[in-house]
C-alpha cells in the first residue's frame, strides 16, 4: 500500500492501539492513566491513553521499521528531503546531531556568532572548534544579521580544513543569508552545510517565503516543527539530503536521544506534517497577512519600528521572513525587555522575547486577527503611558568574540569562580546568554571583554533573564586558571 500526504500512519496506529484495549504489563507505569488519576484530570484520558512505550505495532524510534518509518518518509517527502528523523529531545538535539554527524574532536566548523547555544553545546560534547563569522550588525536596530557571502568565503579560504558551515535560516529576528550561494561555496571546498531552521518550518510550505535548506542543496537541516508548525513543544525533525548516510546519522542521534521516545510528541509531528502538507500554503498565507497587518498598524502608531523586507540588502540580509513580527522599541525610550515585561505583567500578552532594542512576536498557525489587535492596542497604550526620551539606552548589541580555546577544552579545563566584575581579560569557561533568544554573549573558551561585561551588566539592570553560568544569579563567572 502506498501512502500519501493525506495519511498519518503513526496517528492511525495509535488510534488502532487505543481501540484494541491492550493489557499492558510494560512501561509507562501509569497504565493509560489508571495509576495517576490526578494527571488524567489535568491532561485528559485521551492524552494519557496514548502515552505508551515502543512496541511492535507502534514501531521504535531508535530503530524504525514500520509506522514511524512510514511517518518519517512522509515527512521527508513533505519537506523535499532524502530522509527525515523525528526528534523528541527538541531542535537542540537535532542541531547537536548535525554537528556530531560531520565533526569529531579537533575538527573546525564555520558558524555565525549568533548561533543558538545548542550549536556550541554540540562543540563541547564532540570537541570541534568553532570558526566564527561576524554576522554584521544593523546599527540602528542593534540586531545581528546573516552572514555575508564574502565573509563565508574568507572563512573557508582561511580554514580550508574546516568540515562544515552552519547557517541560521532565518535568525531569531527573521534574517536570512544567501543560502544557495553559501551551499555552493562550501560544497566547492568539500564542506557540508548544516542549517539551523528552528525558525524556518514554514519556509517549506508557504508561498513567497525565503528559500528553504533542502531546496538549495544543503546537507542537513534542523526543523522546529513545534515553533511555527503546530506540533507539541520539544518535537522536531532532522532533515538530510542524499549526500548524507542516513544510517550513520541515525547512530549519531541514538548516542544521546532517549530510548523512550514519546508517542505524544511523535504523533504530534505526524499530525502536524499532514496539516502543513495539505493546508500549509493557505495557513502561512494567512500568517503572513496577519504579520503584515500587525506591522503596518504598529508602524502607524509612531515610535515603534516593525521591520521587514525593506532591510533586504542582497547580502547580510539576503532575505527576510515576513511572518516574524520584530519590533524596534528604543525610539519610545524603552528597552525591548521593558516592553516585553509590560506586555506580560500589565497586558497579559506573552511575546517570544525582548532584547535590548527589540521585541519579537511570533505569528503562527494558531493565531487570529483578534490577538494581533490586542498586541497593537497594547503597544499603543505602552507608548502613550510609558514612553520616555530615548537617550541613555545602550545602542549596541553585537559583541565580537575573542576565541582563546575550544569550547570543550574550556568547559572541562581547570577553573575558578570569580566575581563577574573582576573577569575582564580572562578566559570564560561557561556560557552567558539572555534567554530567549539564547544566543551566547560569552561562550566557553572566549575572552571576557569590557564590551561583553558591560552588555551583561546592562541586560541584568534592564531585567533580562541571564543564564548559562553555574552561578544562577550570574554574579560570578567560571574562569580558566591556566
Amino acid at each position: 500500500m502506498s501512502l500519501s500526504q493525506k495519511d498519518a500512519p503513526l496517528l492511525e496506529a495509535l488510534l488502532e492501539y487505543r481501540e484494541n484495549r491492550i493489557v499492558s504489563f510494560d512501561v509507562p507505569g501509569h497504565k493509560q492513566g489508571k495509576g495517576n488519576s490526578e494527571l488524567v484530570d489535568f491532561l485528559g484520558r485521551q492524552c494519557m491513553s496514548v502515552d505508551v512505550n515502543s512496541m511492535k505495532p507502534l514501531d521504535n524510534l531508535c530503530h524504525p521499521v514500520s509506522v514511524i518509518k512510514e511517518a518519517q518518509e512522509l515527512a521527508a517527502e513533505a519537506f523535499g528531503a532524502a530522509h527525515a528523523f523525528f526528534m523528541v529531545n527538541g531542535t537542540s538535539s537535532a542541531v547537536q546531531a548535525m554537528v556530531m554527524s560531520v565533526c569529531k574532536r579537533g575538527d573546525k566548523i564555520i558558524m555565525p556568532r549568533n548561533v543558538h547555544r545548542s550549536s556550541i553545546n554540540a562543540l563541547i560534547i564532540c570537541g570541534a572548534v568553532p570558526v566564527y563569522v561576524d554576522p554584521g550588525l544593523n546599527a540602528r536596530l542593534g540586531i545581528p544579521l546573516g552572514m555575508a557571502v564574502e565573509d563565508v568565503q574568507r572563512a573557508i579560504d582561511e580554514n580550508p580544513d574546516a568540515k562544515a558551515v552552519i547557517v541560521n535560516n532565518p535568525t531569531y529576528y527573521g534574517v536570512c543569508s544567501n543560502l544557495r550561494e553559501i551551499v555552493k561555496l562550501a560544497h566547492n571546498a568539500g564542506m557540508k552545510v548544516l542549517v539551523d531552521e528552528a525558525h524556518g518550518t514554514h519556509f517549506y510550505f508557504g508561498d513567497y517565503m525565503p528559500l528553504a535548506a533542502m531546496r538549495v542543496g544543503a546537507d542537513m537541516s534542523a526543523i522546529s516543527m513545534h515553533k511555527t508548525g503546530g506540533s507539541l513543544t520539544q518535537s522536531s525533525i532532522l532533515l538530510i539530503s542524499e549526500s548524507m548516510n542516513p544510517d550513520h546519522v541515525r547512530q549519531i542521534i541514538n548516542l544521546t536521544q532517549t530510548t523512550s521516545g514519546s508517542y505524544l510528541l511523535m504523533s504530534s509531528l505526524d499530525i502536524s506534517r499532514r496539516n502543513l502538507a495539505l493546508n500549509g500554503k493557505r495557513i502561512f498565507e494567512n500568517v503572513t497577512i496577519l504579520a503584515n497587518y500587525g506591522r503596518s498598524e504598529i508602524n502607524k502608531l509612531g515610535g515603534y519600528y516593525a521591520f521587514s523586507r525593506e532591510l533586504i540588502d542582497g547580502n547580510a540580509v539576503f532575505d527576510f521572513d515576513p511572518t516574524k513580527l520584530s519590533i524596534h522599541t528604543r525610539d519610545i525610550g524603552l528597552a525591548g525587555i521593558e516592553v516585553y515585561e509590560l506586555l506580560r505583567d500589565k497586558y497579559e500578552i506573552q511575546i517570544e522575547f525582548g532584547d535590548i532594542g527589540n521585541i519579537l512576536a511570533i505569528i503562527s498557525v494558531g493565531d487570529r486577527i483578534l490577538e494581533v489587535e490586542r498586541l497593537v492596542a497594547a503597544l499603543s497604550e505602552i507608548k502613550r503611558l510609558y514612553s520616555k526620551p530615548s537617550t541613555g539606552l545602550l545602542d549596541h548589541e553585537y559583541i565580537k568574540p575573542v576565541v582563546v580555546c575550544s569550547p570543550q577544552d574550556a568547559f572541562y579545563g581547570e577553573k575558578v569562580q570569580l566575581p563577574i566584575r573582576e573577569t575582564v581579560g580572562k578566559v570564560c569557561a561557561e556560557f552567558v546568554m539572555c534567554y530567549p533568544p539564547g544566543i551566547p554573549i560569552l561562550a566557553p573558551g572566549e575572552l571576557v571583554t569590557r564590551d561583553a561585561l558591560n552588555y551583561i551588566l546592562y541586560a541584568k539592570e534592564k531585567g533580562a533573564t541571564l543564564l548559562g553560568a553555574e552561578d544562577i544569579e550570574t554574579e560570578r563567572l567560571n574562569i580558566l586558571t591556566n
Binding site: I369, E373, R374
Partner: protein, 280 residues
C-alpha cells in the same frame, strides 16, 4: 418531540428553556449564532451557547446600561457603543433627542443581519439616521479615537471568544483616551455569583480602576443570565453616579421605562457585602 435550549452556565449548573423551534442558525467567522422562539421568553438570541438576550427580559439589561449614565449627565451628545449588534442599546439611546451621534461598533456583521431580520422589535433602531454602524473590532476602533465621546457603552459578550479583547487593560486604557473630560464608560460587568464570572468581574473592575478616578458598580436582576444577578460598571473622569444623579432633569424627560427609575438608580449602586468584598 420536546425541544429545549440548555445552557451550561458553569460546568456544574445548567439552565433550560423550552423552545418552539429554531429560527436561525449560522456559524460566522467569530461565533455560532442561533435564534430560537420560546413560549416563556419569546425569541432568544444565543451566541456560542450563551444567551445574549430574550425578547421578554432584554428591557432590563438595555434600560440599565443606557439610562443610568443619562440620569447623571443629561448633556451626553456623542456616544460610542461597542458590541450591541442586536440593536437593543440603540433602541434605548435613540429615545434621547439630545443625542447627536451614535457610533456602533460590532465585530460580527452576521449578528447585525440576523437581528435585523429575525428580531425586528429589538433591532428596529439600528437604521436610525443618528446611528453609524461600523463592522470592526471594538479594540481596533477605539484605538483610533481621542477625546471624542461623552459616553462609551460596552455591551460585550463574556470574556471568551470575540469579546475577550473588550475585557483587557489595553481596551480600558484606549476607552479612557477616547472619552472627553466629562466622559463616562458603562460596561457589561459580568456576575458576582459563579466563580468564572466573578473572576472576570474582579479583573475588569481592577483594570478599569487603573484609569478612572471614579469607578462604581451597579446591579440588576436579569432572569436569563447566569445566577440572574448581573452587574454593570460605571467609570467616569468627572461624574459620581450617586451624588451626581440629576433625578429631576431625567424625570422631566418623561421617558417611560419598565425597569429603570431614579429611585432604583440610587439603590442599584447598593451592593451586597459579598460583592463589595470581591471588588475591594
Amino acid at each position: 418531540m420536546e425541544l429545549w435550549y440548555t445552557e451550561e452556565q458553569t460546568k456544574d449548573v445548567r439552565f433550560s428553556i423550552r423552545c418552539d423551534k429554531q429560527i436561525y442558525s449560522a456559524e460566522s467567522n467569530y461565533q455560532r449564532i442561533e435564534i430560537f422562539s420560546t413560549p416563556e421568553f419569546g425569541k432568544i438570541l444565543v451566541l456560542d451557547d450563551r444567551i445574549m438576550l430574550t425578547e421578554k427580559d432584554e428591557f432590563i439589561y438595555h434600560e440599565m446600561i443606557v439610562h443610568v449614565p443619562f440620569a447623571v449627565n443629561p448633556d451626553i451628545k456623542k456616544v460610542l457603543v461597542i458590541g450591541a449588534g442586536d440593536g437593543g442599546v440603540t433602541a434605548e439611546l435613540t429615545r434621547y433627542d439630545t443625542i447627536e451621534h451614535i457610533d456602533l461598533v460590532e465585530i460580527d456583521r452576521m449578528v447585525v443581519d440576523a437581528c435585523l431580520e429575525y428580531l425586528p422589535d429589538v433591532s428596529c433602531k439600528l437604521n436610525d439616521k443618528k446611528v453609524t454602524i461600523h463592522i470592526d473590532d471594538g479594540l481596533r476602533f477605539v484605538r483610533g479615537c481621542e477625546r471624542e465621546y461623552d459616553l462609551i457603552i460596552v455591551d460585550s459578550t463574556d470574556p471568551v471568544g470575540p469579546g475577550e479583547g473588550l475585557f483587557t487593560q489595553e481596551f480600558y486604557g484606549n476607552c479612557h483616551k477616547a472619552l472627553n473630560e466629562s466622559g463616562i464608560l458603562v460596561n457589561q460587568h459580568e456576575s458576582p455569583y459563579y466563580a468564572p464570572y466573578a473572576r472576570a468581574m474582579r479583573l475588569a473592575h481592577k483594570k478599569i480602576s487603573d484609569f478612572f478616578p471614579i469607578v462604581r458598580v451597579y446591579q440588576a436582576h436579569i432572569p436569563t443570565y447566569p445566577s440572574g444577578h448581573w452587574l454593570f460598571g460605571f467609570a467616569s473622569k468627572k461624574f459620581d453616579p450617586i451624588n451626581g444623579l440629576d433625578a429631576e432633569a431625567w424625570n422631566r424627560l418623561g421617558l417611560k421605562t419598565r425597569y429603570y427609575n431614579t429611585e432604583l438608580h440610587k439603590g442599584s449602586f447598593a451592593l451586597p457585602n459579598y460583592v463589595l468584598e470581591q471588588l475591594n
